[in-house]
């Protein structure tokens, strides 16, 4: 059975600001990150859909202690966003001073761009993540 939406294709699409997910034909759930089967009903009968990249912030943190090799990025803010289509996705937040991120962020509407993490020796290649900014 073929894996419908691999990380490779998801990654390439995200580099063009396109967020791909999988819509389940059995129960209608939209799944992202991509999986073999639907996260709700476990059916593999899903089709690739393009998501809006818009949503609301559910939670966040600003990281001050980075992993080896990424020290130059700190401090940075990670957010968990609930996309309008339903699923939650992890990304980074720009447009703010990371050290000033507070609970006020929760509930704010955001729109999506992208940022490529070039990878390190443990990575098997570069990896793109959503980069969120406030919706105007």
């Amino acid at each position: 059975m073929e894996y419908k939406l691999t990380f490779k294709n998801y990654n390439n699409a995200l580099k063009k600001d396109t967020l791909l997910g999988l819509k389940c034909n059995q129960c209608g759930t939209v799944n992202v990150p991509p999986k073999m089967v639907c996260g709700s009903c476990a059916s593999p009968d899903m089709e690739i859909v393009e998501l809006s990249g818009k949503g609301t912030i559910q939670t966040f943190t600003t990281v001050f202690v980075a992993a080896e090799g990424r020290e130059a990025e700190a401090p940075y803010t990670i957010v968990m966003v609930e996309l309008d289509e339903g699923p939650w996705i992890m990304g980074n937040l720009i447009d703010i001073d990371p050290s000033k991120a507070t609970m006020e962020l929760i509930g704010k509407r955001v729109v999506m761009g992208h940022k490529v993490f070039p990878g390190d020796k443990y990575s098997a290649g570069d990896m793109t993540r959503p980069l969120f900014r406030f919706a105007t």
């Binding site: 939670t59 990281v63 080896e68 990670i78 968990m80 699923p87 990896m127």
Partner: protein, 392 residues
Amino acid sequence: MRKVAIVGIGETKFSGAQDKTGVELFAEASMDALNESNLKPKDIQALYVGNVLGDFSEGQGMVQSFAAENIGAFNVPASRFEGACASATMAIRDAFIWVASGFYDIVLAGGVERAASMGTPLATRTFAMFSDSRYEYPCGITFPAVFAMLTHLYARQYDIPLPRLKEQMAVTSVQSYKYGLLNPKAHLQKEVTVDMVLKGFTVCSPLQLHDCCPFSDGAAVVVLASEEVAKKLTNKPVYLTGVGQSSSGPLSNQKDFLPRLKAREISAKQAYDMAGIKPEDVDIAEIHDCFSIANLIAAEGLGFFEFGKSGEAWEKGGADIGGKVAINLSGGLKSKGHPIGATGAGQVYEIVKQLRGEVEPGRQAPNPKIGLTDTLGGDGGTLCNLILQRGW
């Protein structure tokens, strides 16, 4: 299924970076466990070893085979378990099932880790591997960042102002450190006050230094035997009466449940049902306080306190000796330490000591009969629970 007992235990001191190898640490703990059991290495039929990052910390894979040979358990089946911080508990649960099923009579289970010897930058990188490497790590997720996000979510979910929640979290850290001071095996022995917690530097907002457990080196090992064999070896067998384990995917896929961790509730229920007990029957618990918020989430997920209320319970002494259940009398992950592949076995070591009444007076629970251990790996990716009861 047969009854299975712990007949001997061993544990090294948990510490910062030190020079003994993983095999050496595991061997020391193993020989102590065997000597306590009145057994010889040749009596061991199999090894179950938790070790998460030996490949990174010392370039050593397959530590379990080298350990088996090293301690004289020549040519026995030796398996390695990896469930991040839940690894040793997974190993013990698995070992229990093999003995309960009748396949083996006497086995060795435990874990070893040299997380401190890796140094903070590499430890931070490798611990981030327990999150999703493709869909979470690119964002710069680190292990503390996972729980930092859960903290903000918890504050919002239960409508607790963040400064108030942070005070409650700090109280749990202070309690862990209080008991760690009395535990000679503890890594971080110091007196910590709520004020110190709230003034420490911020690791990931809102988690500060003393909200976080250290990276530690250490090993802990137990010997498991069938009831029939156990009765010949000791008059104080501790029976494993319940086990549970569950798994989860990345944090974002758990959205319908967060800040609760569904995997823990499933795992704990398995253990409780198997043991035929309820949360209120537990006298002492070693739970996964990798971060202060994790203490609150764990205690609630295990059914000790109502969701959103465990902070208040801790403040009122509900999680202490004399309270509803005495939590982390070892000092917990925060103070006793967190050598991740060994931690779960360290929790069992503590519960067995407590049940036997062999612990330092200031941290000995009065006559406990039922204990529970709780370990979590990654973003709630692996949860494992054990229930232990006195066999005398």
